[in-house]
Symmetry: D2
Subunit: 283 residues, 4 copies
């Protein structure tokens, strides 16, 4: 034996699931994309092609649809916990199940100011996500969102930074700050009866409010205060990780054309961009 | 001469422009992506590399930023008309200017229920667009939107269709209808003082309302009635073209697992998809 | 009647087809993505939901697979011609069929210098494409390629251009020229027995050779000479359209860091970019 | 203090760098995209907006260009090591530097069978990558590739697997196996004078040869034997991680149309897909 298999997992990715719940007066709908990954006693399928303990990834997909048939799908988290639990319950040789869920948000079409009972639109690029990791000894629920573009036109500075031979960036006391927020967090404990949706909304609103109101001395500074506020606002929140690319808006030089530019016209750039990350934990 | 140059144009694409208007009590912002294309007496630059009549594409970009400095940017259309007009006004050898504009929609962050004066979020994948084509003899304004995902869970049928040797599709009286709407239209005349934004919103709302309320016998049928309603609702609308991919939601077969599936669990697919197109003109 | 339906078509898009031909000593494979669009007497399906003449798009997909079963798939063009012809042959009320084909190129894995009989890799982002338009009176074959990134490090200039108030671009006698070529063309007549693959390769090689060897005075100039050479090299070629974005490579200013930069270090940018288009026809 | 900052980093992403080396008889070119991330004593910039120890991300970008000016860029790895080292050398409060490099491969255009001295094409979607992690106590070099589409038309089976209530997948002794390989690995020690490019090519060729020649009993089985062969072929290779999505090619049911389908016509699907991962270490 020249090699040892130190890590392995296998699963099914990009399972797309639409669930419609038909009430008398209105329909509910959720559209999810699901990844399932299993860990366990699968080494012999790798080393010798012995598949006797391999549950096909096609079966994982079938399970997702079957569980969804009877589950209320009231939240990503509650569905993911049940789906991950299924594999551990059914097969003793499976030691861990990881379920990643992402929701394409839909909202009701408004017709003459009234929410329509069965017609929806989906125009949001922001995604709500969660990852459930269940093992024989416990579970870990990570919730979050990504793709949330945020921009403020003032109350953002960047000055007093380190300068070396390669530093030519001017200081600024007033710039545009723009980012595409990726936030994910862990709850202290995943209790039965937890209000997953209400908690998600509270954290999201807190992050937005701090971003909007912050007197930012740097993207780092704003990230820190957003994360701290989320932990303070939500007692269940144990730890939050924020990634905030700094999507630069650069003032366009209009002097060559005889025009001033007092913070009016900018060019948006995607590359290169700054990338600021931080993890905050309840003290 | 073995070849003749029968068509040509050149221009600058993906000019990204952010315009901030700073009022005392609040800031306004628009983020656009602009393509500019010029037609005219440029053949010698192709045939012999004689650039004397070639306005550099870098200059086109500069013009976009300079015009934006002084323009209110109250609508895509009004800005595009002025921008296209600039090139015809300045250079006699330019016979046509095409300006394509696309807006990344931003909305104010709500903090404690109040719209924030200078903080914004942008989560919509739907895009408002317009194309301005100006020549020495006139102009044509095409407005529209794309990327608008629409779905209804009922009141959509597809039956009574042609069957041949290769047809195995079952008829259905009740299916999910899902699409990503691409709609663009021409106005009868682009008048000074036209309310471009209000007109856009009226057309969009009319399309949504018909999609929601329609007793659909096919995607074609719904497309037709959406377009007709838009023309009826908006007197300036002369012609509208709709493209509606049929993004299938397929009922999952759960019988093998001992479960029924009365319109509850579907798989969403992106490929293959139907593609339905139609153009309607005022009679 | 407030509206009239002036244009319509419907079809199936993104049909993904893999065809394996199993010879005794080796396997052949082609992977295609196909769009099919039909024109004809379909107005009543739009105006009144009468589907009696509507061949389902699901059937179009089935036809593509069934025709592929017995077709040698020796070229995109020969398959597309037969596929488009099927619909006209089978249904008198169909007036036109448009088939668009795109190939994901695969090549044999080389093992110890030998082409493997049944293992392939596909790493090319370039795509070969064709569009077949058949009607009751004739057919038109458009062939082409796109996604072909080309770059030359010298023998490209841009000088002597028009300067106005908004022009600040410096002239250059030696720059990098980079583009992502999109080329498509029409053949004078689609003859039985035409060598579609050999002709495609000849045109591609001619375009590449001219790009490489050209003393370019502008992207327009190079585009013109590439198209002319293709028409001169290939007697069947009637008309060719080239679109060449000018993907700028900008010299980085290293003086602030005490370094020179004699054409050595550049930043690549994707937006904004120039866009040069031209169509050449045999004189 | 209600929170503690447990993890942080910041940097510059998507720095696009083109380096041209101009020899008398030919030009060399490399096009890279670079991410730089720094770790160290930056907490006060997060907690209080004190930027005195913050090297701007704009400076990181400048350093990349300046270092590239004088570096031969003979390999991704040698450049990344020097670039990461720069930050540790220059600033005592920086504890770690992570540099990620990705190369857009270019090859010379062949004109009349001869490699052109200064014209290139880039059509490969496969990407060579590396990540350099340097700290005060050592460095770790991870090399790899991704985006390499592989497919074999036979010698792939999947049978004898676990069946439960949700398993309906039929067994198969002969299927198409298709994947998009993502492989990355660590070298035992990064020695001065190591042949980074030759080693990369050896590993890549070994992975391809095993994929092609393997009698596969499952994707897991093939993954294992590919990784083992790479470790056996390359003495410097300490550990390799492979991720292989199982991009299904499903046999099309042609019986309804009166046709057989003996492994000839397949539909390619991207979602859902299997995902097989494994890490192998030298025993």
């Amino acid at each position: 034996m020249t090699t040892v298999l130190t890590d392995l997992s296998y699963g099914k990715s990009r399972i797309r699931l639409t669930k419609v719940t038909r009430h008398a007066d209105r329909h509910e709908i959720r559209e999810l994309t699901i990844d399932i990954e299993l860990e366990g006693d699968f080494a012999s399928s790798y080393t010798s092609g012995d598949n006797r303990l391999v549950l096909p990834t096609d079966t994982m997909k079938n399970v997702a649809y079957a569980i969804a048939r009877e589950h209320p799908l009231d939240s990503l988290e509650s569905f993911g916990i049940d789906l991950a639990g299924h594999f551990l319950d059914q097969h003793a040789h499976i030691s861990g199940a990881i379920v990643r869920l992402e929701e394409q948000p839909l909202e009701r079409i408004a017709v003459a100011g009234m929410a329509h009972p069965h017609a929806f639109l989906g125009t949001r690029s922001e995604r709500r996500k969660c990852t459930i990791r269940r093992s024989r000894t416990g579970q870990r629920v990570q919730s979050g969102l990504d793709g949330l573009f945020l921009l403020k036109t003032t109350e953002s500075a960047f000055a007093g930074f380190l300068r070396d031979r390669y530093t030519i960036l001017p200081e600024t006391s007033d710039r545009i700050l723009a980012t595409v927020l990726d936030a994910h967090w862990h709850y202290a404990a995943a209790k039965v009866g937890m209000d997953w949706n209400g908690t998600h909304d509270l954290i999201r609103e807190t992050l937005l409010a701090v971003f909007a109101g912050h007197k930012s001395l740097s993207a780092q500074h704003t990230l820190h205060d957003m994360g701290t506020a989320a932990i303070e606002a939500c007692p269940q929140l144990e730890e939050i990780t924020l990634a905030m690319p700094n999507k630069h808006r650069l003032l366009v030089a209009l002097e060559p054309f005889g025009l001033d530019n007092p913070g009016a016209v900018f060019v948006a750039t995607d590359e290169p961009h700054g990338m600021i990350r931080g993890t905050l934990r309840r003290a």
